[in-house]
Amino acid sequence: MDKKLEELKTEYKNIPIPDELDFVVERALKKGKTNKRGYKWMAGTAAAAILFIGGINISPAMANTLSEVPIVGSIVKVLTFTEFKVDEDKYKADIKVPAISDSENGDLAQSLNEKYLKEGQELYEQFKDEIEEIEKEGGGHVGVDSGYEVKTDNDRILSIGRYVVNTVGSSSTVMKYDTIDKKNDILLSLPMLFKDDSYVKIISENIQEQMREQMKESNFEKIYWVADSGIEDNFEDFELIKKDQNFYINKDGKLVISFDKYEVSPGFMGIVEFVIPTEIISDVLVSNEYIK
């Protein structure tokens, strides 16, 4: 081989391999497979929340301080469970256990798809259990940062995102949203909001359009894996959202669809979300009770 080329090859082969490579590869292999099997929220993931709740339990002073922070305050409002041991005298006023009003769901059927009503009530219970479980698990996981982000909190609904960030070498974030109807103690799911499954296609097409537009406008600073984007890429393009795609309802009452890192775009894009214009789904919405 040519001497110059030989030198270049030696340079290339001498590129040092960082210690993190093993870790990054193994994690990618593992994470990819769990993703494939479907989303599973792991109990250990909300470690920071454990610490956070632990902190409230241990230190009334901390609890007091936290209750004054508006965002944290509203989390505390929702995350009420029996073992919640706080200095009651100092804290009582800030904790409001969501009122449980059984049976009186008469008008609910008009706002939600009946088929899913029961499931929503069960999911709500599950949500409460999971939070309780997180508290019981105890202990933290090094290198994992997790917590909550309240997207919307008004009289009617609470949209809350639980996130986990792993930071070693490079980071990946997993987000799981829960949207709760506070009046009726129901955890809203996407299919529940719509008359039938046609929303999957309508929303997906809109997202594809938004993706292409964003790529074009940003001069390909933003990249999504979508067909006809102007960038040739033969790998799995985004086609349809999952029936139970991650979503929340924002402060303006708009439906927001969220994708995890790597789900529809390269890693540098992180978690991506799309606000869906209400006009395009108004025909298939059961009601405008939640989405406006």
């Binding site: 110059k4 030198e7 590869v25 990819g32 990946s172």
Partner: protein
């Protein structure tokens, strides 16, 4: 049918990735010249690969297929960070001026880096990763003749002389 194959060949895929992780890292690094970004690309590429593994028709193509993902992911990255990398190159040049004797091959290396990605990819894959010319064509999704033409051009740009057999990789 794709689904069933997945189960049996899952380990094959994992094994392949483990065996080739260092090659993939170097390949990514050769584009981005930065360890953190190269790691991110490797990770991204594995995710992409797992997502589209079912659509891989021929397992003999596994290597070309995965290398293609790494190359495309790297190019995506460069596209996104275009301005940053140009800045970096300028800074690098500024900093390294006057220190050139520390880097024996700096001219050659710089020349390689200055090649357009489609030329650089070919040099790296053919000569550093020792792929056959047909495999390079598979990875870059071009026909063999296009690759050959570009390879001759690339070598000419680098002022490297080479015999035909070397280019084709007759082995």
């Amino acid at each position: 049918m794709g689904k069933r194959r997945r189960f049996n060949d899952d380990d094959l895929f994992t094994e392949f990735i483990r065996d080739n992780k260092e090659n993939c890292y170097r390949l990514a690094y050769s584009y981005v010249r930065n360890s953190e970004d190269a790691l991110d690309i490797v990770q991204d590429a594995i995710h992409k690969a797992i997502l589209s593994y079912d659509s891989l028709q021929d397992l003999n193509m596994l290597k070309s297929w995965f290398f293609r993902i790494v190359v495309n992911t790297s190019l995506d990255f460069l596209r996104k960070h275009k301005r940053v990398s140009i800045m970096d190159a300028e800074t690098m040049e500024f900093i390294s001026s006057g220190k050139e004797d520390h880097y024996e091959n700096i001219d050659l290396e710089r020349a390689l880096d200055q090649l357009a990605p489609e030329y650089k990819s070919i040099i790296v894959l053919r000569f550093f990763e020792d792929l056959k010319i047909e495999e390079v064509a598979d990875v870059l999704n071009e026909n063999v003749n296009t690759i050959k033409t570009r390879l001759y051009r690339a070598l000419k740009l680098l002022r490297i002389e080479m015999k035909d057999e070397m280019i084709k990789g007759a082995n």
